[in-house]
Symmetry: C2
Subunit: 182 residues, 2 copies
C-alpha cells in the first residue's frame, strides 16, 4: 500500500509540538501515558502510541451546511489557539451496519453539525478517518482553540455526548494539549 | 500504518488465479500489459502493476435499496461464474468537492443502483475504495458472471457510462478475466 498524500499520524511519546495536559477515557480504555504529542505524516520511532488517519471528502455534510461552515470557520494554526484536543472515537458495529440514510438520520437528529456551528469560529476542527485503515479508532478529531474558549469546548462536547449519535460510540478518549514552546 | 483487515490487492503479472483476456482504456491511460491477475491481501513481488483498495460501509445506498440488493444478490465465487471484470475508476476533483447531498443527487439521477439491480443475480459485484489510500484510482469494482452473461454485463456498463455520473469519470480501465485452471 502506498503512503497517503493526505494522511496524518498522531504519536504520543517523549517529543512533539504539543504537550499533553490530560487524558480522559470517556468510554472504554485509556491510551498509554505519554508527555508529548507529535503530529506528522510519518510515525515517530520513539512513540508510546500511534494513531493514523486521513482527511477525506464530506460524508454527511450537505451543500447548505458546507457553505455555512466555510463562512464561519477559521483554519488550524491560529497564533491565539494555544490549546488543542485530540478525540479518537470508535463507533459500534450497529452504526456501521446502517445504510447511508439511516446514519444520516441519526446524525441529523443529534444536531451534530448545528451544535458544532454554535462554537465557530472559536473552536477550529479537522476530522480524520481511521476505520478503513483497520485502526483501533474510526475517527480522530482534532480541535484548536484559545485557552479561554476551553469551557465553551467542554460545553460543546457535553451536548454532543448527550445526543442519540453518541449511543453508538463504544470507545472515546479525550486528550487535551497545549503548544510546546521550544 | 497497520495492514487492513479488509483490504485487497489486485496484481497484474505473470501469475494469478485469473487470466487477463483483454484490457480497454475507456477513459485515460491503459495499465501496463500483463497476462494474469492475482487477487490477495498482499502485493505480489513479480507484479507489473498493483492496485489496492478496501471494502467499507455503504456511502450512498439507502436502507430500502440495501434490503432489495441483499434479497437479489448472490456472492462471489460461484462455480458457474467463470468470467470476471475489474474496473478501476477515478472521478474528477469536481465530484469530490461536492457535498454528500450533491453527490447523492447525481448518483440518484444516474439511476446507478436501479441499473445494477436489473442485472442481479447474474452479475455479482464488490466495491473497493482506493482514493483515501492516495492510489491512482478512486474505486476498484470487481464483477463475476457466467460467460453467457457477458453481453448483459456490457449492456449494464453502456447504460452506466451514458449516465450523468460518468461525466465525472476521468480515468476508467476495463479489464476482462477468466478463471485460470491450474
Amino acid at each position: 500500500m502506498r503512503t497517503q498524500n493526505f494522511g496524518v499520524t498522531f504519536c504520543g511519546g517523549s517529543t512533539g509540538q504539543w504537550r499533553i495536559r490530560s487524558q480522559i477515557a470517556v468510554t472504554g480504555q485509556a491510551l498509554p501515558d505519554a508527555e508529548f504529542l507529535s503530529v506528522s505524516e510519518q510515525a515517530s520511532q520513539q512513540s508510546v502510541w500511534t494513531l493514523t488517519g486521513f482527511a477525506s471528502n464530506l460524508r454527511y455534510t450537505g451543500a447548505l451546511d458546507r457553505e455555512a461552515l466555510k463562512d464561519r470557520s477559521e483554519g488550524l494554526g491560529r497564533p491565539a489557539a494555544r490549546h488543542a484536543a485530540l478525540i479518537p472515537i470508535r463507533k459500534s458495529d450497529a452504526w456501521w451496519a446502517m445504510a447511508q440514510d439511516e446514519r444520516l438520520a441519526v446524525f441529523g437528529r443529534a444536531r451534530h453539525t448545528p451544535i458544532g456551528m454554535d462554537y465557530l469560529p472559536a473552536i477550529a476542527r479537522k476530522l480524520y478517518h481511521s476505520r478503513d485503515l483497520a485502526e483501533p479508532f474510526d475517527f480522530l478529531t482534532w480541535f484548536e482553540f484559545a485557552a479561554e474558549d476551553e469551557p465553551a469546548f467542554d460545553h460543546m462536547l457535553e451536548r454532543l455526548r448527550n445526543s442519540e449519535e453518541w449511543q453508538y460510540v463504544t470507545h472515546e478518549v479525550d486528550i487535551r494539549l497545549s503548544r510546546h514552546e521550544i
